[in-house]
Amino acid sequence: MKRLFIIIIAICVAAGFAFAQEKQLTVPVVKIELTAGPGQEQTSTLCNICHSADYITMQPKSSKATWAGSVTKMRKVFGAPISDAEAETITNYLSANYGNGK
């Protein structure tokens, strides 16, 4: 009986050790709303493949050319699966809602 008790203790210690060996990470999901407007849904869906929407909302208000450059970078450099037509929709949306009027 005493022996069994020691074995149980040993198993618990080993289990505890194994637990300490592992560390987990769950990054919370923070809800970020993009401004409502034409193209919002496509922008949200396509951009979210790689990153959360705050990669858009934190940026300084930018010109249409700057947003177009950013969309092109996502497609050409990072291979985002965005068609020409979708790229135009997204660029127009970003320029209209996160633009500086230029």
Partner: protein
């Protein structure tokens, strides 16, 4: 951290992200509420820049501390598939490529190498990007993408010597457990030239401030390249590869590059002719107390306090001005924790008359490198280090 009173104004200064919101006209609700604070695993309440991949900024009051507590160290990831779990029973650092002996190092193996450590500033190349004018796209950091941490681990050199670098090796690349969201997104891999990698002070760190690393800061081990920007400090290190040809990965060849000029800067709004990789940190200061926009009492003792650091050379001099740069006096320097650490400076001040005062601080290192009075600029928004101005009202 008792002294954790965050005024809205201070937070706004810290959270560059919210500077953008002022452009909306009026004050939308979100600004009234201050920047968005989040608490992620093993971290304290941090300023949210981005959620996925996460970028979290350290609130300014933590910079009153000489050592940044682990839970307050900023977080910056590049590609969105972060490791969800690391088990030390199976985690290994693989050392391979142009070596005599491939290694597969467990944490126990890593701890068999001589343990070395020091205090060093970890700073993102884009710290202060939100102050760039003209504004540039990228992580809109205020001043909170830096930390002063006591690191400990094994010398990279000792690991490489154990593996035996073969003749003709050029670069060494470093990869971590993070993975790209699409196969077309380049994996986050960085490299150092062999000569750089063999420097004594580069370590594979498994301790931050005497404790294991938070997952978001690179558990179980990360590369520490003291004096150089954080982009090289690869987190959750898994692969060290010795290369016989120059490394040509995206994150070295195309990203994290600055104009090939002395300051790494060019005429604002222009494009560089030639670029080189981001490397050494420049010299900078931050005034932590009083904070910008605060009100002080006339004829009352105040103490100006801040921090200064400069890559791999000690700060030897910090001068302070309380009249917008017209006159300067030496500040007292705090405890010297080595050339990679920041140093605190203190300047007693008793403003006699009510009014608005512009406080400035300028640091110089042991080889004469200092800070510019005017902002420097480059397209990615790196290397921000201009002499800061903190404006306070005395009543």
């Amino acid at each position: 951290m008792e002294d954790f009173s965050l005024t809205r104004r201070n937070l706004l200064k810290g959270a560059g992200a919210f500077v953008a919101l002022s452009a909306l006209g009026g004050l939308p609700d979100i600004v009234s509420a201050g920047p968005r604070m989040v608490r992620f695993p093993e971290k304290t309440d941090m300023i949210l820049l981005t959620n996925r991949p996460p970028q979290l900024e350290t609130p300014l009051p933590f910079f009153k501390e000489m050592i940044t507590p682990n839970e307050a160290v900023f977080v910056r990831w590049h590609i969105s598939q972060l490791p969800t779990a690391v088990n030390l029973a199976t985690w290994r650092i693989k050392v391979s490529g142009n070596v005599e002996n491939e290694l597969s190092l467990s944490m126990d193996d890593l701890k068999k190498f001589e343990k070395v450590g020091y205090t060093a500033v970890l700073q993102c190349s884009g710290n202060g990007r939100s102050f760039a004018e003209p504004r540039v796209l990228g992580g809109q950091w205020g001043n909170g993408a830096m930390a002063n941490v006591t690191w400990a681990g094994a010398r990279l050199k000792d690991i490489l010597n154990k593996a035996g670098i073969k003749a003709g090796s050029v670069d060494i690349s470093f990869n971590g457990l993070d993975k790209p969201p699409l196969p077309t997104v380049p994996d986050f891999v960085k490299s150092l030239a062999v000569d750089k990698a063999m420097e004594d002070d580069i370590i594979v760190a498994y301790e931050m401030n005497g404790k294991e690393l938070p997952m978001l800061n690179g558990f179980p081990a990360r590369l520490v390249v003291p004096g150089w920007y954080g982009t090289y400090w690869v987190k959750c290190l898994s692969d060290i590869t010795v290369l016989a040809a120059p490394f040509d990965g995206f994150w070295v060849k195309s990203a994290y590059r600055v104009p090939d000029t002395d300051c790494g800067c060019i005429e604002p709004g222009t494009a560089p002719k030639k670029t080189v990789p981001v490397t050494r940190m420049n010299t900078r200061t931050l005034i932590v107390n009083p904070m910008d926009g605060t009100t002080l009492k006339a004829k009352a003792d105040a103490e100006i306090m801040g921090l200064a650091f400069s890559s791999n050379h000690s700060i030897v001099d910090v001068i302070v001005s309380v009249d917008g740069g017209t006159t300067w006096k030496k500040a007292r320097l705090g405890k010297d924790m080595g050339r990679y650490s920041w140093i605190q400076f203190f300047f007693p001040w008793k403003p006699e008359k009510p009014g608005r005062y512009t406080i400035m601080a300028k640091a110089t290192n042991s080889v004469g490198e200092s800070q510019p009075f005017d902002a420097t600029w480059n397209p990615p928004g790196y290397y921000w280090n201009k002499v800061e101005k903190t404006v306070v009202t005395v009543k």
